[in-house]
């Protein structure tokens, strides 16, 4: 088989894996948009905050240590214990649920029936607040994330492909782990929304707020549930991306990778987020591989948006988005 074809196959595989990571971020946006019509600008910062909290808890870091030391003249930084990864994840989930309750009580409750743009602006404010709050709580130094995820070249795949074609493909073990986690996440979310009472209530709220309220569904409770699930998805995305780069404030920018995925897949579809992520991942990687070197490279950021726009020309609601029909 020609080398270029083998390379293209390797790039496609890696594009699929990268696409899964984009989908993980996009999922959080979809969940909140579907249930409340809010485009949550803070989703990227939620991923950052969740990852910071996880590492902080795991390492036994004293929250707000800088503030405490400045006020009381103390010198505390760590509790001196190390929390096992599983417990740290559970505790972080607790923090994200608490965060969802606070958001509902102090922001969303006061903005019921407001224009979507007002809610969007509120999430912008929330994003900046959380970024500062995360810095104050856990510090802004880079943190190594270690919850035992495999990382590096998958030797089995490399040796198998080498045996077939004389060229071993590179696939990162972390990407494989992310794919498995994403698959479990999507299946769980689908089962939850289709077969649980809360899930059905969630879908009812997504379809029609007023109708859901009239049959006794608590909008406030549903919002807390949705933001909690989005917090959980943010934690998964934060862990996967944080394992690559360490947990640092640039993690909040992963949201930029989700936008073209949402444009392509639609803002209201979980399968759309997955398929959109895969198309964007493969599309940008193949474009960079084949055309990138001819035009100076670094095409991925803008090509993802170009690809999404191209799809929008033919399907303005995205591949799986709901077609909006407004009757006058």
């Amino acid at each position: 088989m020609p080398d270029q074809l083998l390379f293209a196959m390797e790039v496609t595989l890696n594009g699929l894996m990268a696409g899964v990571l984009y989908s993980l971020v996009a999922l959080g946006f979809v969940l909140i948009f579907k249930a409340s019509g809010i485009f949550n600008y803070a989703q990227g910062v939620m991923a950052l905050f969740a990852a910071l909290t996880l590492v902080g808890i795991q390492d036994g870091q004293v929250p707000f240590a800088h503030l405490i030391n400045a006020i009381f003249g103390t010198n505390v930084h760590h509790f001196g214990w190390h929390v096992p990864a599983v417990f740290a994840i559970i505790l972080t989930l607790g923090v994200m649920v608490l965060f969802a309750i606070i958001v509902e009580r102090y922001i969303l409750k006061h903005l019921v029936n407001q224009e979507p743009i007002i809610l969007f602006m509120a999430t912008i404010g929330l994003a900046y607040f959380m970024e500062g709050f995360g810095d104050l709580m856990w510090g802004s130094d880079i943190k190594k994330l270690d919850i035992g995820l495999p990382q590096g070249l998958n030797e089995t795949l490399e040796s198998v492909t080498y045996g077939w074609w004389g060229y071993g493909f590179f696939i990162d073990n972390l990407d494989i782990a992310a794919t498995i986690v994403a698959a479990i996440l999507v299946i769980t979310l689908t089962l939850f929304s289709q077969y649980s009472k809360t899930g059905r209530a969630l879908r009812a709220v997504a379809d029609d707020h007023q109708a859901a309220l009239s049959v006794g569904i608590s909008l406030r409770f549903i919002w807390v549930i949705v933001w909690s699930i989005a917090g959980f998805v943010a934690l998964v995305a934060g862990v996967m991306w944080g394992a690559k780069s360490g947990v640092q404030f640039s993690l909040s920018l992963i949201a930029l990778k989700a936008l073209p995925v949402l444009m392509l897949g639609g803002f209201t579809s979980i399968p759309g987020a997955i398929v959109g992520g895969l198309i964007i991942g493969v599309g940008e990687k193949l474009f960079e591989f084949s055309i990138g070197p001819m035009i100076g490279g670094a095409t991925e950021n803008w090509f993802a948006y170009m690809l999404a726009l191209l799809f929008l020309v033919f399907r303005p609601q995205g591949l799986f988005g709901d077609k909006i029909i407004e009757r006058v």
């Binding site: 500062g132 880079i142 270690d146 690559k244 780069s245 640092q248 640039s250």
Partner: protein
């Protein structure tokens, strides 16, 4: 009577609110927030702590207190220019923008305003030509020096023969990252190596394509001009594809602890250029401890002490304050003006004796600035990361850049700049 009292009260209030005119004002254009904060914080802390120490120990410079004005740029060029505009009226003596993008924007502004800019080891390389760039300084070394030093190191490893070798440059797709390309192209012609360019878009969180390309092309060496999250991701990806880490060499902005720690054991053996020595085993640190850390006056969280970038911030402050000290000596004035400081920068002679007297013996290179040469000695060392001890160690002594390549490039680029901007070269004797 009432009017007199009112005027007096207003005058007192204005005097209290304004900075004391006698203060030596040094702006710190820092970034403690945003995606590049991880690297911006230690530099800003080191800069601030050194000035705090001088104020506490010596009462400033020549008995005149130093007033540092910190302004958050977020590593954003527009914000950096806003910071410049907001602080220049405070009597700013030297600007150190800590960003090549901001430096490029400040070159015409600071030149017009008559305020010196010191882009220490970054910024526009051809500003090293003081005949054209009267107010801009980039000592002790420039990016083009860095590119040449990296290639000289590779030459030393390869018995001075790199003909036919493949060298890839992974770079931040910005003005900063593109700086070394011209020099590397010239060096490729001279030494016969094959150069491939792999840009990484801001912020650099995702680099799968670039590293797959490296895996497929199999370059002999990879050079990196990265900043912020781009560095640890690149090092992790290099470890993932099992690229030999001792053949992976970063510029001095890709050689901090923040860059290698996230990759853990995978980063072992990674190399980077060193603008100054790693480590903090210098006599000055006793004074820093006494007057700053133990006195509870540390900038930021106080947790960056001794890191490569913290020490670089201190070094930046040292070079700025030495220029002010020189300006005071030359003018006989303690309250120096930006023009006097510019003269001081141009007359700066950083000797080993001076560094020892300041409590940092052997930390940085000895160099002399002049009217024509604003770029310093253009030398650097190579440091290598040991993931077991989590320490950088030096693997070479000072390496010089190839002046036969760099100097004509500087002359060519600065002449083009002078032509575009109708600048007549100064005569330097």
């Amino acid at each position: 009577m009432k009017l007199t009292k009112l005027v007096a009260a207003a005058a007192l209030a204005i005097a209290a609110a304004s900075p004391a005119l006698a203060d030596l004002v040094l702006p710190s254009l820092s970034y403690r927030t945003g995606p590049y904060a991880v690297n911006g914080i230690p530099v800003a802390d080191g800069f601030a702590d050194y000035l705090t120490m001088l104020n506490a120990r010596d009462g400033g410079i020549g008995g005149v207190p130093i007033k540092m004005i910190e302004c958050e740029t977020g590593y954003n060029t527009e914000k950096g220019v806003e910071c410049y505009e907001a602080t220049k009226g405070e009597g700013a003596l030297i600007y150190s923008p800590l960003s090549t993008g901001i430096t490029y924007q400040l070159i015409p502004k600071a030149t017009a305003d008559g305020i010196p800019v010191h882009s220490m080891g970054y910024g526009r390389t051809s500003a090293a030509n003081g005949k054209v760039f009267e107010w801009i300084f980039n000592y002790p070394a420039t990016y083009w020096d860095g590119a040449s030093i990296a290639i000289n190191h590779i030459l030393a490893l390869e018995n001075n023969d790199i003909k036919g070798k493949k060298i890839a440059l992974v770079y931040h797709n910005s003005g900063y990252g593109k700086e070394p390309i011209r020099t590397l192209e010239e060096l490729a012609k001279k030494h016969g190596f094959e150069l491939s360019l792999l840009p990484v878009d801001h912020p650099g969180q995702e680099q799968k394509s670039q590293w797959l390309s490296i895996r497929q092309q199999k370059p002999d060496y990879v050079l990196m001009w990265g900043w912020g999250v781009m560095n640890p991701v690149a090092i992790q990806e290099a470890a993932n594809i099992r690229f030999p880490m001792d053949h992976f060499i970063g510029i001095w902005w890709s050689g901090s602890e923040n860059d290698v720690l996230p990759a853990g054991a995978g980063s072992n053996g990674y190399k980077a250029l060193a603008l100054a020595n790693p480590g903090d085993g210098y006599p000055i640190m006793a004074d820093m401890k006494k007057y700053v850390y133990d006195a509870g006056k540390s900038a930021g969280a106080g947790d960056q002490v001794g890191t490569v970038l913290y020490m670089r911030g201190m070094y930046q402050a040292l070079l700025s304050t030495e220029a002010i000290r020189k300006a005071q000596e030359m003018s006989g004035e303690m309250n120096v003006t930006p023009a006097m400081v510019r003269d001081g920068m141009e007359a700066l002679n950083i000797t080993e004796e001076l560094m020892a007297a300041r409590g940092m013996p052997g930390f940085g290179p000895a160099f002399q600035v002049s009217c024509a040469n604003h770029g310093g000695s253009g030398i650097a060392k190579i440091q290598q990361w040991d993931a077991t001890t989590k320490k950088w160690s030096l693997v070479t002594d000072w390496i010089s850049a190839d002046r036969s390549i760099i100097d004509p490039l500087i002359a060519e680029d600065s002449e083009a700049f002078a032509k575009e901007n109708n600048i007549t070269e100064r005569a330097c004797n």
